[in-house]
């Protein structure tokens, strides 16, 4: 049952109050502030206030050389840093026409997909925490820890990776990575089944998510929402399929789509994506070729004059990096099209007339990462 509410009648009565959620509120991950005009428990209007963690990443990209900007990309969405590496590196490679060796491409896919799983696991735990279930968070972090260990061995860091390089990746896979990743996949599949039995099929969870916060495909398009949000609304939009990059076209995977558009739809999309990512990693490990991991790159990298875009499917949706170059070492303009910003924008319209707890479930299901919104 979703509660209905007449906004017009309530606005006339004038009996409303403003509830200030955040920037330090337990439900707002990070420093998102939402000014909610409430009528009792009903949200009449919610106005996201952003900018509390703005760090001028785009401007930084314009006043330092491309290689020096690379570490910044790992700090925009700290939960799926490798995708951001990938988008930036890909844009530079496209502009400078740098060849990437096939082994490097496969390593990029494997590590990116591991990163996607870890990002979805954090979302899963944090979302359940929003819904008042504490235990899943610890289970998710337990599994994520294994991914972080794997990635630490390859990249040298655990959260804000800076692993991809123009023309390849920094280091080859470390010894035993392939075996350990296979072991992780074998371990993760039964865990997913357990997650389903413990949490997804739980009657309380289903009542809290089914038919709550429906988002229509039309609304998604209007605000440019992508990723699991639009796929949870029944649109099979996935950059990996629609504009295949790297070696995704050689790999066989499905794009999970749920037509309901409610919180449960988005929830199921992400849970299915974890399984699909495991599938991708397994195939990529099978196909992993030998060879160099870094192509030929000029010592001083200057992009030719021009305008180039490169999009990847980050954990939260379409991430696009646009570099406008005037032939100098630094970009003339660097634009980051981040998914969380668009996904957050629809919250105001979608949350209108919802109950507070449902609105927060909706916000959780959008999987917002605030540094990704503010950049």
């Amino acid at each position: 049952m979703s509660a209905s509410f007449d906004i017009a009648a309530s606005a006339k009565s004038g009996e409303t109050f403003v509830l200030n959620l955040g920037p330090q509120h337990p439900a707002a991950h990070g420093v998102l502030r939402v000014k909610m005009t409430m009528d009792g428990e009903y949200v009449m209007r919610s106005e996201p206030v952003i900018g509390y963690i703005h760090r001028m990443h785009e401007k930084m990209g314009e006043n330092r050389s491309l290689a020096k900007f690379l570490p910044n990309t790992g700090r925009i969405d700290y939960l799926s840093a490798l995708h951001y590496n990938h988008a930036f590196v890909g844009a530079v490679e496209r502009a400078a026409r740098i060849e990437v060796p096939p082994r490097a491409e496969f390593i990029r896919v494997i590590t990116s997909e591991l990163n996607r799983i870890s990002s979805h696991l954090v979302w899963w735990g944090a979302f359940l925490l929003d819904l008042g279930g504490f235990t899943p968070l610890l289970y998710a972090f337990d599994d994520r820890e294994k991914i972080l260990d794997l990635l630490e061995g390859v990249t040298g860091s655990r959260l804000t990776y800076c692993y991809f390089r123009f023309g390849g990746v920094r280091d080859d896979l470390d010894e035993g990575f392939v075996e350990r990743t296979r072991a992780f996949i074998a371990q993760m599949r039964p865990r997913l089944k357990m997650y389903r039995q413990l949490v997804t099929d739980n009657i309380i969870l289903r009542k809290r998510l089914e038919n709550i916060g429906p988002i229509s495909p039309e609304l998604c398009r209007r605000y440019g929402a992508t990723g699991p949000v639009i796929r949870g609304s029944g649109v099979p939009y996935d950059v990996r399929k629609i504009e295949p990059y790297s070696v995704y076209s050689q790999l066989d995977f499905e794009v999970p789509v749920y037509p309901e558009g409610d919180c449960m739809g988005r929830y199921r999309v992400r849970m299915d994506e974890i399984a699909q990512s495991l599938r991708i990693i397994e195939q990529a490990l099978d196909k992993l070729p030998d060879g160099p991991t870094l192509g030929k790159v000029p010592r001083v990298l200057k992009l030719p004059v021009g305008d180039v875009c490169y999009a990847v499917e980050a954990a939260r949706g379409r991430l696009m990096v646009r570099i406008v170059s005037d032939g100098k070492e630094a970009a003339y303009r660097l634009k980051l099209r981040t998914p969380s910003f668009s996904n957050m924008s629809l919250f105001e319209e979608a949350s209108r007339g919802m109950l507070l707890a449902d609105a927060l479930a909706l916000m959780g299901s959008l999987d917002l990462v605030i540094p990704d919104i503010d950049r």
Binding site: H25, F134, T135
Partner: protein, 343 residues
């Protein structure tokens, strides 16, 4: 020595015991809860303070007491300070009539059950008071939720208790326990020949108890992801500590009541304790009571760390659309069976 046997001294001793029992339970149930949560979540839980974490509650209480008691300048100065007292006192009062053993009861009165419910309902008022006095939007929303939640859940709980009263015919809690003497099939939980829905009534009672004590998955009052800490947002120091104590005192009370009403109180469930054991027999009974009590409390903790929180209207729908009709049906069935069947 003779004054030791006098009634005033016994009452004084009982009061001390109850205060110590509530305090000790509050302190160590918090530890049990945190340790239990740790086990459910594949982590050790608090294990640094003292011997494997056993001094953690003392450290917590020390921290809470040493903090300054802040009263927001906008808040109602009197009510804000009064609310923690109003929430803890009734829970302690109720424990006075709970028979922990054959003779281990502070004051046995023949309307014990009525007293428990009349004092138990003050709890709502205290939380309402704290929410109102805080002058905080989150707190007021929480207070409004608590009132509608508690009103909704008190009805099925009382209906279930009336069903039980029809079976027992008395409000004297000690007498209710004595009726359940003998094997465990004499416990009210298993007495399906009085009412075939007896186990269902227990389930309703247990759900209502969870809702009345504001425990997860019905912790609407303290929904930390929506309302920060609900009615307790503005409380710090021991003010918060007392609310915490009251929560655990209410859990102990609710589970004791469930033990007395449904699981035969101090009865062993295996037959009577031999009269020759004398005082030791009472201790054995007390042990059985405590075992049942803590098994129920463990279930309460277990539920909290397994399920996510419900949404408010689901909670109210559960009460008005499912629990109340079912408990009304059990009440009708019970009365019909008592009237029609020979006793």
């Amino acid at each position: 020595m003779s004054f030791l046997l006098t009634e005033p001294f016994r009452l004084l001793l009982s009061i001390l015991c109850i205060v110590a029992f509530v305090g000790g339970n509050a302190a160590y149930l918090v530890l049990a809860e945190r340790k239990g949560a740790g086990r459910f979540q594949n982590r050790p839980g608090p294990n640094e303070a003292g011997f494997g974490g056993w001094l953690q509650p003392i450290a917590d209480v020390g921290k809470l007491i040493s903090k300054q008691l802040m009263v927001p300048p906008e808040a109602d100065q009197l009510l804000f300070r009064l609310a923690p007292l109003v929430v803890l006192t009734p829970a302690m009062m109720c424990l006075a009539v709970i028979p922990f053993g054959d003779t281990v009861v502070a004051r046995n009165i023949n309307v014990g059950l009525l007293m428990v419910f009349s004092f138990g309902s003050i709890n709502v008022m205290a939380i309402l008071l704290s929410g109102w006095a805080s002058r905080n939007k989150f707190a007021i929303m929480s207070a409004a939720r608590v009132v509608s939640q508690n009103v909704a859940y008190e009805i099925p709980m009382l209906l279930v208790v009336i069903t039980l009263l029809m079976a027992t015919g008395t409000m004297d809690l000690s007498e209710i326990v004595r009726q359940q003497a003998g094997g465990f099939w004499h416990w009210n939980f298993c007495r399906v020949w009085i009412n075939p829905l007896m186990p269902v009534t227990f389930v309703i009672f247990f759900i209502c108890m969870l809702a009345e004590t504001n425990r997860a998955p019905f912790d609407m009052a303290e929904a930390e992801s929506e309302l920060v800490a609900g009615a307790f947002t503005e409380y710090g120091s021991m003010g918060f500590g007392v609310f915490f104590m009251a929560e655990y005192a209410n859990i102990v009370l609710g589970c004791s009541l469930a033990t007395v009403l449904f699981f035969g109180g101090w009865q062993t469930g295996l037959g009577a304790v031999p009269a020759a054991w004398g005082g030791w027999g009472v201790l054995v009974g007390l042990g059985f009571f405590m075992a049942k009590l803590y098994a129920l409390i463990f279930t309460v903790i277990w539920v909290r760390w397994t399920f996510p929180r419900t949404q408010f209207y689901i909670l109210l729908n559960l009460s008005w659309k499912i629990l109340i009709p079912v408990s009304l049906f059990t009440l009708l069935l019970s009365s019909a069976m008592i009237k029609l069947l020979p006793r």
